[in-house]
Structure formats: C-alpha cells, structure tokens
Symmetry: C2
Subunit: 309 residues, 2 copies
C-alpha cells in the first residue's frame, strides 16, 4: 500500500491526534493492557520482576527499511521481530514494548491501521504487551522505533563476550538471499532457541546475525584469534552463494560459541530432540591466525551491511 | 549550529557507522556503563528491581521540536528532560535510557557530539544510565527518540486516574510563555517533587503539563465534573496572560488532585518546608457543571497543543 495520500479524508490529519491514539488502542486490541499497565498515562507501569532486565531498540523507516511494495502489516510485524531477535540473542524472554511513531500528516489512516494490526498479531504470538508510545508529526517521514524490554530466563544472560580461542562456532537456520526470498520479513525470531542455548553451560557467547555474518562475527571473536570458517559448512538459503550467506544481512539467526572441549555430539543430539525442525550447523572455530586450515574463508574480503555511508 | 553540512569531511558519513558509535560512547562518558550494562551488546542488561517499573518514550525532531537556532546540547538535554518529566508525573525515579537516532548522512559530526554531551550531562545530573540505542540513516531527517525506564519510589504509582468530584486542583511552578522565555529548553523536571507527592496520601492523581493545562487537565477530570479554575489563582510566568498559561504547552510542571477533605494548610506547610523555592498553587477544584462559581474559566475556549493537524 502506498502509505501517503493526497485525499485528506483518508489521512491521519483528518482523524486528528486524539482519535488516532484511540484508534491505535483499538487496533492493538488485547496486545495493549489497560492503563496504567498500557497506553493512557504519562508512563506505562510494569510489575516488578526478580530477573535481570533486558532492553533494546530498533526502527523501521520508509525508504530505508521498507517501501510501498511491502504490506503495512509486514512492516509492523518486522519492527517487533527485529527487536525480538535481540532479546533472543541474549537468551531472554520478551515483556513489553513502547513505540515512537513519526508520520507525515498525509499518511493514510489505513496504512497505520494495518501496521498496528500486524504488530499486534506478532505481539500476541510472542506474548509481548504493547504498553505505550508517542505519535509525532514530521513532513515526508514515516518511521517507527520500538523499544522492547525483556528479562533473563536463566541465572545468566548470554552476551557477545565469553568466547575463547579454540571454541567452535555454530549458527542456526540458513544464511543469505534474505531480501528477494522475503526472509527479511518472514523470519521467526529464535526466542525458544536462544533461551535453550542460554541454559547450556557449553555455550559461551551469542549474538544474532543482522548485518551479515562476516561483519557480525567480529563482535564474537576473542582477541588473538580469527574465525576460521569452512565454506562447505556454511548453511546457505536456496539461491544464496557464499558471498550472500556472509554479507546479505537480515538473517536474524543466532551465531554462538561452544566450548572447545564440549561434548559436541551430545549437544547436537539434545538440540535435535528439542528443535527437530531448526537446522544447526558447526561452521568453524576461533583459531590463531598462524594456524588456519587451508580452506578457511577470508572474511575480510566480505562486507556486511554498513548503516551509514 | 546548522546541523547539516555540505563538507563531507565534517559529516557523519565520513566518520562511518562504527566510528560514530565508538564516538557516541566517548561523548556519553560515565553516563554509559560498560557492556552488557551499556552499549555494545544485542540488548542492554539492567539489574533486577523489587519495584514496579515505569517506561515512557518521547522524541525530538528537527523542524518540529527544534531548529538550527537551538544549541545541540540543549536539544540533547531536552530530549531526556521531556521523558524525565513523565517519570516525575508518576512519582517515579529514573533508571536507564535507550536512544534511537535517525540522521541524514550530511549531519555534522560536531552537532551529534554536542547533542550527546548535553544528553550525558543531564543523565549524570539525574542519575540516568544511557545503556543502548540504534543509529539509522534517512535522507533529510534528524530525529531522536528516547525511551526512559524508571521505578516506583513508594508502594503506589500516582496515575492520572483517581481524582474525585470536589477534589482540589494544584499546580507546581508557573505556566505559559514557555517558548520565547526559553523555558521549554531550560525547565527542570519535577522529579523530587513528584516522588514527594506520590508519598502523600491526600494526593489522588497527577500528570505533567506538556500540551497546555486546558488540554491536559481533561485527562485528570473525574466523570460528571469539570475543572473549575479561578483565573486569579493561575500561576503565570512573567509575560504570560491567561490564554498563554492555559494553552502554551511545554510547561513540564505537575498538576495534581488533592482530596476534598484534606488538611490543605498542613499540606502546604509540608510542601514549603520541603520545597521552599518551588511555587505551589491551588488553582480550583473539580466541580459539578451546575455548581460552578461565577468567575470560572471556560476551558473549552482554550486549546492546547495539537500534535497532528
């Protein structure tokens, strides 16, 4: 749907601020608890939690993350799923979201409705409460940023730090060809998988793959080592070559380090019992630069997504 | 400072994404704890809290909330203070913030630096940790939305609901003439005052005044009543007439309801002991529409700030 309209009657300007906010509450439906636990007060209120809290923020911007060819429902769903993937990457459980919406006065009310409906359906599916937000006007802009809070599911949160030289590198699912396959909108955030991995002692560090594995993996790599990846072991989406698998971005898979001395067979068996339909691949290990196997991929030759250029 | 530049060397595009994020961490300084408690992982991690949690989000957008005449430091400070005022309005204590920054590639690095320095100084002053964020690029846009979490300071959070017919209406500070006086950038969020009021049993409901008292007060008004305000009782900023005091917006003062039978003299004495330098005014009460004093202000004649038109 083309998000902007020249017919004032179809625009959010005709609706006005108060009616738009009331409509948003309707579109969110059960995903929005009543005030003060949801929209309608100066802040939303969340019950106390005995767990450590997680917080992350990601936007979707018209002309950058989506265009008129993407259904508004998918845009709303993706906005939440991008953030859910960050919670998954720490092994957490999502709790509540707030949304800062910025829109041109000519934005179609129908577009905003479908956006919130897509967001609400995803929020219900993953048990997220949409508790608040803000609506602001800016000429020529259609953007939303969502802040998602969550909590740790185990006594630890799995961070990007913690991998050691010699550790094995694993990745869930398949990589690459994310744009034309529609994967960048259709992916499922790996929440159950992330929580399961955080509870396994042999998993030492984890993150999600959002800017392409070649770029993202740098953040997981222990000092004094490089990721030694075997090209044949890379799980590629149908239509993806090695370059696409390493550089496309928007995979929203989990990449993690498993202790060098772990019982990898037992680990893989346990994974298959719990997640029989989700691929798990050991793609290499963190090795010293002077001890690389001959077929190692030269990651510096591949670029991930650069957000600013 | 003009935020955009035609000299590439002075722009964030020349800096690149990774160097910009590294610079942001430097500019934030002590306001940003180390990962995973701050910037640098998929999510930021916050320690558990036994209190109820608060969450709010507000943006600043170039061309809407600020322009080139406003120092970038003041823009960063205001972004945080707007959100702090929402925490104050619930009687809460702030904890942590995440920031979604959207900028044109031609944005001056120096502008972004001053913006974060202003934000960081305010964060240190009010004990807020800036724990994460996102940087996205969009043509012609310079905007930031900040999500602030906080926690309740007492066994209750003070919401907008709870006022009853007959309750007295109080407001802190002075109202109106907020734009040209610079108040909209120079205000101090009423955090200490809000926490103190939340602990007073006679205070039944509270909110902050951000869109103008005439508009905001509707949210506090109990069903079956109207706010009966005496024009002479309205605390006006120097240069503000009654219309400005009711409609200017961006006052960031607290308005609250005090129980009809409260000992108002004792309440006022306690306030003056605790906040000798902050004005407190009883401006009227919630009355039945058929029992209004003759000099009551007709609030429907005054408009507050309309965000979408």
């Amino acid at each position: 749907m083309q998000p902007f309209t020249s017919r004032r009657a179809e625009s959010v300007a005709a609706l006005g601020e108060e009616a738009l906010i009331a409509s948003i509450r309707t579109w969110l439906g059960r995903a929005n608890p009543g005030a003060p636990y949801g929209i309608g007060d100066d802040c939303a209120v969340l019950p106390p939690s005995p767990h450590r809290q997680l917080i992350t923020v990601d936007p979707v911007i018209f002309g950058r993350h989506f265009d008129a060819s993407i259904p508004a429902r998918d845009v709303g769903a993706k906005l939440l799923k991008r953030n859910l993937s960050d919670i998954a990457a720490m092994g957490g459980r999502p709790r509540a979201a707030v949304i800062a919406l910025t829109l041109d006065a000519r934005t179609r009310t129908a577009w905003v409705r479908e956006f919130y409906r897509g967001l609400a359906a995803t929020a219900r599916r993953f048990d997220v409460a949409v508790v608040g937000g803000d609506v602001a006007q800016a000429d020529g802009v259609l953007a939303a940023s969502l802040t998602l809070t969550g909590e740790a599911t185990t006594s630890r949160v799995l961070t990007r730090a913690g991998a050691r030289v010699g550790d094995w590198i694993y990745v869930t699912g398949a990589l690459g060809h994310t744009l034309h396959s529609g994967h960048h909108f259709r992916f499922t955030p790996r929440l159950a998988e992330g929580a399961w991995l955080a509870a396994r002692a042999e998993v030492r560090a984890m993150m999600d793959v959002s800017d392409g594995l070649a770029k993202d993996l740098r953040a997981l790599t222990p000092t004094g080592s490089v990721p030694a990846l075997a090209p044949a072991a890379l799980p590629r989406r149908r239509g993806a070559d090695v370059r696409a698998a390493l550089g496309d971005g928007e995979d929203y898979e989990l990449v993690f380090a498993v202790a060098a001395r772990a019982d990898r067979e037992a680990f893989t068996r346990a994974w298959r019992r719990r997640f029989p339909r989700v691929a798990l691949s050991c793609i290499g290990r963190f090795a010293r630069p002077d001890r690389l196997p001959p077929d190692t991929l030269k990651l510096q030759d591949f670029r991930g997504y650069e957000h600013l250029r």
